[in-house]
């Protein structure tokens, strides 16, 4: 049987750079094939070529053994290739069915949409691939995982048998990842071929049948998922010894930098999402919060930054009660913030880098003052950040959206650390960035810690938490349920605490 996709000698050059260099890859029919690589390794370019968004400069593509050339995604769709983008493209105000048929509506006489036919077809597709969805739900009422399922079905509805999933797990919480993987297995069982990009190696190992690793635009390995370890993969990706997040000797001091006492945060409905938590961070200390996402970690961060609805308790910063202070006052007095979603809360995507560097620090030298902005000072400081934190960019006047995720993150880390904060709130500081940038971020945080910085670290990466933190607290349903020492805890233990399993055991004993 001919392979589903066969790429040979695919090369794509952009002025001054070879994004894909003689890539060879074979994807068998009915397999789940993972593509890993650092940011900038050429994964996205390769997917764009496969989906007909860009033509390759050299090389050939075969689909089901037939030589193909795609001029546009329409051609790719015709050949049964569908793509699910990382950022969903759904209309909130329409139903699932309406979203799915959008752009491919079955039209009857007089231009009326044949919803009945569409629904029947959808039901057949959903049954064929074992995916459940209520076609009449409004998309706005769906969870992230369900929205992703709608995107997948949308592609299947158009007849795709080869699915490209671009970092499908980046937006999902662990339970949703499980659901996605179940769906992927169902799809595979029904004969679909899946090609997916992922950063998280444990996920790659769990779900894929074969793995292709890209580095600097080349295929460095294409192997079956058979006896491969995450460590092997990571080394293939980076091409050198792996960095590990390990902190040297303790630098924890006696001075309390930040103290939360009995903090309660309410959500929009007035229900408490953080329930009477106490937390103390000393200078030179990194406190990590572990927890399955959605258990109140984000709200603790918001409470410290000043954007949450704090209904009880107090926050003390270097001995000063800041519970009622404005966000600006807090940021000015030395609370640095690396938000969990850099596009949402961290950057002005359409603004130049130097303005992004100023964001959050615009009231202070060198970026500005109470009344004035200081473009010259801000630019000079941005150049410093660019050098010190290795932000790779042609210049500091390009818009932030032009940078890759890792470089955007380095810019954010840089702007926060160069403004000499007393406390740093780092929420998922290495999420969605490549291994190289990750190591750089860890180094930066460690150096700042040695200089007396108090850090609150929130992360879904348990190795990162254990490797960097001096103390780990576990958050479950809005409360801190355990305080652990990173020296004595394994990711496995931590997982047990995060899901509440460890607590039940203790209760039983």
């Amino acid at each position: 049987m001919a392979p589903a996709i066969e790429l040979s000698g695919i090369t794509k050059r952009f002025p001054g750079v070879v994004a894909n260099d003689n890539i060879n890859m074979t994807v068998e029919k009915g397999e789940i094939h993972a593509i890993c690589g650092e940011n900038g390794a050429g994964k996205s370019t390769l997917m764009k070529i496969l989906y007909g968004m860009q033509p390759p400069d050299e090389g050939t593509m075969k689909v089901d053994g037939e030589l193909v050339e795609f001029a546009s995604p329409t051609d790719a769709i015709e050949r049964g290739i569908g793509m699910v983008h990382q950022h969903f493209m759904l209309a909130d105000q329409l139903t699932v069915l309406e979203n799915i048929i959008l752009g491919a509506e079955p039209v009857g006489t007089g231009g009326a949409i044949k919803f009945g036919d569409a629904e029947k077809h959808l039901a057949r597709v959903a049954e064929d691939y074992g995916l459940t969805i209520d076609p009449n739900d409004m998309v706005e009422s769906l969870e992230v995982g369900e929205r992703q399922r709608v995107e997948i079905i949308k592609v299947l509805y158009r007849g795709a048998e080869i699915l490209i999933l671009d970092e499908p797990t980046a937006v999902l919480v662990p339970q949703e990842v499980e659901a996605l993987f179940d769906n992927m297995r169902e799809l595979k069982a029904s004969g679909a071929t899946i090609l997916f990009i992922d950063h998280k190696l444990d996920e790659v190992l769990e779900i894929s049948d074969s793995i292709t690793v890209l580095r600097h635009g080349k295929t460095v390995a294409s192997l079956p998922n058979d006896g491969v370890t995450a460590h092997d993969l990571a080394e293939l990706m980076v091409g050198s010894e792996l960095p590990t997040p390990e902190t040297a000797e303790s630098t924890v001091t006696d001075t309390v930098a930040l103290r939360l006492s009995d903090i309660t945060v309410a959500n929009d409905d007035g229900r408490p999402v953080v329930n009477g938590v106490d937390l103390t961070i000393h200078q030179g200390e990194i406190v990590g919060i572990a927890g399955v996402e959605g258990n109140g970690q984000s709200e603790v961060v918001d409470a410290i930054i000043g954007t949450a609805n704090v209904v009880g308790g107090s926050i003390e910063f270097l001995g000063r009660d800041i519970t009622k202070e404005s966000v600006r006052r807090r940021r000015e007095s030395g609370i640095g913030y690396v938000p969990e979603d850099r596009h949402h809360e961290g950057l002005l995507l359409s603004s130049p880098l130097w303005e992004n560097a100023a964001l959050g620090h615009q009231t202070k030298s060198p970026y500005g003052s109470r009344w004035w902005l200081d473009p010259a000072g801000a630019r000079a400081q941005t150049e410093t950040i660019r050098e010190q934190f290795d932000v790779r960019t042609p210049n500091i006047d390009v818009a932030a959206h032009a940078l890759s995720g890792g470089n955007q993150q380095k810019l954010i880390i840089g702007r926060e650390l160069t403004s000499n904060p007393e406390v740093l709130i780092a929420a998922h500081p290495t999420r969605g960035i490549d291994v190289g940038a990750q190591a750089a971020v860890w180094d930066d945080i460690r150096t700042a810690r040695a200089n007396g910085l108090a850090t609150l670290l929130i992360s879904a990466d348990l190795d990162e938490l254990i490797g960097l933190s001096d103390t780990i607290v576990v958050m479950l349903r809005g409360e801190f349920v355990a305080t652990l020492s990173p020296d004595e805890v394994t990711p496995r233990d931590l997982g047990a605490y995060m899901t509440g399993a460890a607590l039940q055991q203790q209760g039983a004993n």
């Binding site: 994004a19 900038g40 966000v327 809360e345 603004s351 964001l359 620090h361 960019t393 042609p394 890759s404």
Partner: protein, 372 residues
């Protein structure tokens, strides 16, 4: 260099497109395009017409800046119309009640206009920050309340006592004393040109509009407040996390927009010396188009204001020469706006792609792969 090319391509493209479409329109109406364009240009070459154009462009520009202040933070102040008419009326009334030395008198009048307009705009700001009312809805409603309600009522209340001299042209508020009227600046113009004929006079507000443009540029690009304002417009969540108080910014931007709107009516006030029964209307809405065409940019809006004013004045010219129907000018205003929006959209997309490519190059510059 490349950047300059991108920013020039859009207006140039829009201009060419506009010319093509309006030529087709002219031909469709059976007029001669060459004759019509010729008449428009030959009149615009006259000093008197130029004074007319600048007099018209001045309120357009002020109105555009007022709208642009809101636009820069994604706040759509559609209420410039009602705001400036309110300011105009109150300034006229207050100005007629006092008698002060010239500078002070003018200052009091302008301050009144700006404060009243600003407060009126602030109403929409308060509604938004306290009750979450969308400013588009509230400002549109406040326009109607101003024009059809408050102004209609206050015009009666403040109608000058005309006694025996009643005539419809004499209607309006009491006349402001000479000391309260902003002098025209023909003196300055004539330094550079010949004497301006036909009794045309360039409004003193022209200089104030230039000052407002400069202040707008400095405020946005050089002040911390301006940075906060732009940041809030681009990403309100990031701005908030960066310490920008969102509600205070909404109110401040709204009131600042209103304050600038207050100056619009001062052009007419200086000319007529009172709030007339038939003030020029629609300037607030025209400003939205001018701001859109000028990309909220102080220089761009100046150009757009002059272009709109030129087309306005040209409609009168075409009417009198009979080369084409006067509506062609309005059609051209509409076309230029549409084509500009399209051209800027395309140019923006190209520029973004260009930037992303450049950044990608930089990223792999030190990981340069030697092609096999």
């Amino acid at each position: 260099m490349r950047r300059l090319a991108f920013s020039l391509a859009a207006p140039l493209g829009a201009f060419v497109l506009t010319l093509i479409v309006s030529t087709i329109a002219l031909l469709a109406f059976g007029s001669s395009p060459t004759e019509a364009y010729g008449d428009m240009l030959s009149h615009a070459a006259k000093l008197e017409t130029q004074v007319d154009i600048l007099n018209r462009a001045t309120p357009f520009y002020l109105s555009a800046v007022a709208a642009a202040i809101g636009f820069r933070m994604n706040l759509f102040n559609i209420g410039v119309e009602g705001q400036y008419l309110m300011g105009f009326l109150f300034a006229a009334q207050v100005g007629s009640m006092v008698n002060l030395p010239q500078v002070l008198h003018i200052f009091v009048i302008m301050a009144t206009a700006m404060i009243v307009s600003s407060l009126y705009a602030g109403l929409a700001g308060i509604l938004k920050t306290t009750r979450g009312v969308n400013e588009v809805i509230s400002t549109i409603m406040l326009n109607s309340i101003a024009v059809g309600g408050l102004i209609a009522w206050l015009q009666q209340e403040w109608q000058a006592d005309l006694g025996e001299n009643f005539s419809s042209t004499a209607l309006g508020t009491n006349e402001i004393a000479e000391s309260g009227l902003l002098p025209t600046i023909n003196g300055i113009v004539e330094i550079f040109t010949r004497e301006v004929g036909q009794g045309k006079e360039l409004t003193g507000m022209f200089l104030i509009a230039i000052a407002v443009g400069v202040a707008y540029y400095v405020l946005l690009n050089r002040t911390r407040f301006g940075f906060d304002l732009r940041a809030s417009g681009i990403n309100p969540f990031a701005a908030r996390a960066g310490g920008v108080p969102p509600k205070r910014m909404v109110l401040a931007a709204m009131m600042l927009s209103g304050a600038v709107a207050g100056l619009i009516g001062m052009v007419e006030l200086a000319e007529r010396g009172k709030f007339p029964p038939d003030p020029i209307q629609g300037l607030g809405f025209a400003g939205i188009g001018v701001a859109l065409l000028g990309r909220n940019n102080p220089g761009g809006m100046a150009f757009a204001a002059i272009l709109f004013a030129f087309l306005d004045v040209s409609s009168g010219v075409l009417d009198s020469t009979g080369a084409a129907s006067r509506e062609i000018a309005t059609i051209m205003q509409g076309i230029v706006l549409l084509t500009a929006v399209i051209a800027y959209g395309v140019a923006n997309r190209l520029r973004e792609r260009d930037e992303a490519r450049e950044a990608a190059e930089a990223l792999s510059a030190n990981a340069e792969v030697v092609p096999a």
